[in-house]
Symmetry: C2
Subunit: 131 residues, 2 copies
């Protein structure tokens, strides 16, 4: 563990340079999504006050809302005990989930399978460009 | 993606068989911790109603509170859009964090570095057996 990094922020020396990032609605307390940040994404988030993640599937920075306009204004950041996870309290513009739900956690586990427990607020086909 | 698994629960076919798990206090909405689950941990959590994680560092199931007594009674489970993260709403007995804080996110990022923003509720030395 790098004691030079630990006192000021997350520790990017583990997990291939990534930390997990939980975005929580600052107003309602709802957990909106979980994604990843590398040091560059974290630094840009701090500098701009807008949530920037690292997309593992695309292998590049993912400025939340860059396509949809559904940005997250970051109100506070917390670091966990192991310094490998951050919690962002955010003001969510639009919806966090690319499926059109306010939160990515729109399905509850029930004995009958997954049950959708939130309204769909937009049709993804109308927000994201295809092809 | 396995369409046979997806409709009923998380997808353990990615990320070396692990999904991220966020534990949120069912009463206050506070995010308590983030850990990992494999299929076995998830199944035992469902069956027993107590949070069971998979410890990557120890390479085995981690029955939350097995040493400290600080267990988590699971009230609801949600699965995210990609089915690779679960959100647990829990009733936390004692503290979630092994450092003695209610939540693992007890430090806020400030321009002056990390600032502890929660009271320490117990001394870990008195709870965990050493060596």
């Amino acid at each position: 563990m790098s004691s030079a990094i630990e006192p000021t922020g997350p520790d990017f020396s583990k997990n291939d340079g990534l930390v997990a990032a939980v975005a929580q609605d600052a107003a309602t307390g709802d957990v909106l999504m979980v994604a990843w940040m590398n040091a560059e994404a974290y630094d840009e988030t701090l500098r701009t006050g807008r949530a920037v993640y690292y997309s593992r599937s695309r292998g590049r920075l993912w400025r939340k809302g860059e396509e949809s306009g559904h940005t997250q204004a970051v109100r506070a950041i917390y670091v966990d005990c192991d310094a490998d996870t951050v919690l962002l309290k955010v003001e969510q513009i639009g919806t966090a989930c690319h499926e059109g739900y306010r939160s990515c956690f729109f399905r509850e586990v029930t004995p009958q399978g997954l049950k959708v427990i939130a309204p769909r607020l937009f049709d993804p086909e109308k927000i994201y460009k295809r092809g």
